[in-house]
Symmetry: C2
Subunit: 700 residues, 2 copies
Amino acid sequence: MDLLWLAPVGSLLALGFAGYLTWKILKEDEGTDEMKKISAAIRKGADTYLKRQYRVIAMFLGLLFVVLLGLSFIGALNPYVPFAFLTGGFFSALAGYIGMWIATRANVRTTHAASKSLNSGLRVAFSSGAVMGLAVVGLGLLDLSIWYYLLTALVAPGPEKISIITATMLTFGMGASSVALFARVGGGIYTKAADVGADLVGKVEAGIPEDDPRNPAVIADNVGDNVGDVAGMGADLYESYVGSIVATMALGTAAFGALGLAIEALTIPLVMATVGVIASILGTFLVRAKEDASQHTLLWALRKGIFFSAILIAIASAAIVWITLGEAYMGVYFAVLAGLLAGIIIGLSTEYFTSHKYSPTVKVAKQSHTGPATIIISGLATGMQSTLIPVVTVAAAIVAAYYLAGNGDPAMGLYGVGISAVGMLSTLGITLATDAYGPVADNAGGIAEMSKQDPEVRRRTDALDSLGNTTAATGKGFAIGSAALTAMALIAAYQEELAHVAANMGREVSLNLSLTNPLVIVGLFIGGMLPFFFSSLTMNAVGRAAGGIVKEVRRQFKEITGLMEGEAEPDYASCVAISTKAAQKEMILPAAVAIVTPLAVGILLGPSAVIALLAGALVTGFVMAVFMANAGGAWDNAKKYIEEGNLEGKGSSNHKAAVVGDTVGDPFKDTSGPSLNILIKLMSMVSIVFVGLVILIHGV
Amino acid sequence: MDLLWLAPVGSLLALGFAGYLTWKILKEDEGTDEMKKISAAIRKGADTYLKRQYRVIAMFLGLLFVVLLGLSFIGALNPYVPFAFLTGGFFSALAGYIGMWIATRANVRTTHAASKSLNSGLRVAFSSGAVMGLAVVGLGLLDLSIWYYLLTALVAPGPEKISIITATMLTFGMGASSVALFARVGGGIYTKAADVGADLVGKVEAGIPEDDPRNPAVIADNVGDNVGDVAGMGADLYESYVGSIVATMALGTAAFGALGLAIEALTIPLVMATVGVIASILGTFLVRAKEDASQHTLLWALRKGIFFSAILIAIASAAIVWITLGEAYMGVYFAVLAGLLAGIIIGLSTEYFTSHKYSPTVKVAKQSHTGPATIIISGLATGMQSTLIPVVTVAAAIVAAYYLAGNGDPAMGLYGVGISAVGMLSTLGITLATDAYGPVADNAGGIAEMSKQDPEVRRRTDALDSLGNTTAATGKGFAIGSAALTAMALIAAYQEELAHVAANMGREVSLNLSLTNPLVIVGLFIGGMLPFFFSSLTMNAVGRAAGGIVKEVRRQFKEITGLMEGEAEPDYASCVAISTKAAQKEMILPAAVAIVTPLAVGILLGPSAVIALLAGALVTGFVMAVFMANAGGAWDNAKKYIEEGNLEGKGSSNHKAAVVGDTVGDPFKDTSGPSLNILIKLMSMVSIVFVGLVILIHGV
């Protein structure tokens, strides 16, 4: 039965529901003039940033488009690839833009809604997150559907037709990847430079509270939440989503082609994604809270939506596999379950290690008794320790998916790994909603503080914000886990592509992937080192950019008379401009490293070394991303634990020590850590796109 | 020409010269009664610690001996293995003990000699280091020679004789490894618990200087230098030294056996080691300094010795390869050069990133302007950045050695990798001397401070100590680089052993080392995660143990009246006892992880997963060890840079921020980082020893 038509339908459903939610959000009141003014400033800063960033990205995409066009003229690529690349980049950027557009409009409306009730505030903020989540999956399915039907019409019929289609679609992941990298790295640098800079001078030196309107960097800080945590996250997960689906399509064509089941195999990920859309939309209706809701009940309100969607998908997937591939291949269904389950386990593990409801973060907080050094050591150790469960879980999911779906056949096993990534990501619509909800709630709290709202409103926005910290941490765990599975599928797809393109070019490439091949060892070493080197670049970039903000804030405190007394206004725009400029400049080098390394290794050492490079980067990048995200989360919540009145509370020397931990954790969890997700995927994508070049040099 | 008799001669030369240097050191005067008293306290603390540690180790060795005996009864091991295992452990422990024995006698004599002249102080401290360096290589060669001749006499003649001999010798590396792990981990926990605890209460809370006799933890701190940096380092490098030689012997037998050149191939590493002994002894005579020597001249005095030895070995190795294997195999010689060169490059790179003569460390120091958080971020970033050069260097050395020595033949290529590790380690006698010199100089400074010596004496011991920090950092780089190459050779040797033992057992084991095998991927993931998890254990252990010291020091400050006024003496022994007990307890779990993981993976997932596990752990462990050692070194020297009067100098808020960095760096560079070297080697060794068990389960 042909179910492929479900994909465009799912796309339109997602985009339609996102439009409906947008309309509902915009209907809400923006509150007082003061609130409108602050919100407008944040919106303007975010717009300015994104415009400048997208200009850089456009230049970059244009440049690569020309390169790809050149390569397709000499026959190293098929002629559709350059265009597929462009649309991937365009849709990824659009997904990030939509998320940011709605977040900068929902923030102030959340503040105002929170003045009515907790549930009203939650609904507005969560709806904003849902717009982003559904836009990501909707645009992803749209891009996939358009290209699939377009290529089906354009490519000349023949036995190779389907594999040409999937190969082309695979390559548009690179466009999405590069935009995601710029968005994550640039946004991450922006947000943390503003945050760290604002804290260092405002909180630590001047002793004014967070989000105080006298702090010149406060608007930049709030802008940062939107450009880093919303737009960056959106582009990142767009890429994982699309990447996992196209990789699985390619692997499915290779595994089931000979059995005449290629169409069926590539239908499954697309239809599962559609079911995920429907499940996510239904799940959003479950998210609501009572006025006296505790932190725990609020979290459960969000969780309910996710669990409901996951169960729905688990049930529907069984039917999908049954209908398309038939009873003989139900192992594929168990691969889906492995991915879904792994996503949930990683989320729970992340929560355990980063929430102050559990002992690890409380232990970190208690180390504040002996000062900042011990809290740093303890946070680093907690982050390192937290890598065990996610790594074992992903490893187990890979093995389970491979053997359950493969049943002895390697190609089908790899298809199983891909489909487990799709399974994990099928709940993306709603998972991303709970994640993108966080920055909106954070902004809402900032606006409440700056516009001096009633304490009751602050209490409510604080409750929403605090919840956002937990969902942000679990969201990061999910992003990392899915990136690892997607990268694994992409590495497998690279090998398919290599064989496929080499055959088309009439050349042969010999692969020796044994660990006894020194080129493999070298690839593993360089790949294993790269996440460290890459993180050093992004962390230093945050340090430099934050230094610029520190100087500017100090200057304004000194030069603007009456600022500290609240009689004069700071120059918010200058801090926004400094962060924007620094982020644009600093994101170039890390991006170049991510793109040039796989190219250089491919050209110099050949395809075996490339695969080892990707495997090495995947392993270390995955472990390191978990380490950095969870260490950062633990420090953040250890600080919050103290601010809630534990261990002598706010203002104590314990609190000061915890602030140091939190500041170190900022670039960990919001810049370097999340960028690693994209590093490992982008490197695979670059390798796939330029595989023809490697064959030209190393093929015989 | 049979040159094998050179090995026992080299061993006796090394031990004889070490004895001569010991005699010379003991002839020196111990100085005033006050100095003798302090030195006796340190010596007693170190002795107590080592005795307790060796009791734990003896129990562990005994237990494993029984297990191995059992395995050899059921035929999974040859009957010599359990005994080889015991002697490996015994000699490794002995090497550490000798190093500590002389260091705790040379420290006070260095202080006294420094009252005469800078050169006298340098000579005593360096001689103590040389005793340790030569004891390590002398005992290593002794153990190797005894077993080689013993097995030659005992093993029944036949075509398999040589490979049985090398296989047995290979397994005694595991004894050395386990002792090294206990020594590094236990010693590392001890030294940093005492150091961090002493600093946190003494320097930060009470505001008294380092090494102040009023600090109850000051003796424990000085004891720590000896048990961690001397005994631990000695056992570690004993293990690398022996491990690289036996692995190369096994690889040589496999590569050259069919050519009838097995004896020649296994002679080379032994004879190169002997030449290394002679070169090291000659090199020690070059180490001397003028009274007005600058830091730079002093460093050059030490370097001269190393460079001279390296050049001597480079020349002699050409002759050795020529004489044994002949002109056709001169590629083996180039593999030696690759290893030697890689060692030097890694040393220089380490110095660049950790010395405050160069910009990276100065940049870290400058981040102190914005407080502890930025100095932490900057140090972490510097450490991560510093991984690039060592990783690329080792990768290049592996490829160069493989292709130069192998010339297309994989077995010979792997022999080349082994021989390059031997090349790097051939200068160990003198490299370790410059390294083990550091803690002696550090102790000498402490004794000078505590016994209130003339400022001129302090100036000299400070100059010696400061030099020791640089050599300690480069020494760590050398230890890490050589561990990586050795581990690589051990992984190759594992495969040889697997084939060899399987053949002996009449079974067949199929290996699938391709990166497309999910078991390989799982092995890589778990191996890649393990160094993170292991480091979290050791860092938390330091945190817990330091917490105990902090409490005790605070108690003494509060309860002992007249202590701060210098009228009453603190209870040094109680801090020593607390550190000792904590270290013994805390070293068990990390050691268990290192031993159990390869066993569990082997039993559950089979040999392909084991090799991937080892490769994953090697890659991440190597990168992480460099990261941790260099971040720690950069923080340490950033603090020293400020203490030398830069950036507002000692006591400023900048200095306080730098102290936080240094405290975080302590467990990084002296506990977790160095322990990783052993983790990666020990896991390989455990896998090799228990290969029979894996074959029993997974062979057919």
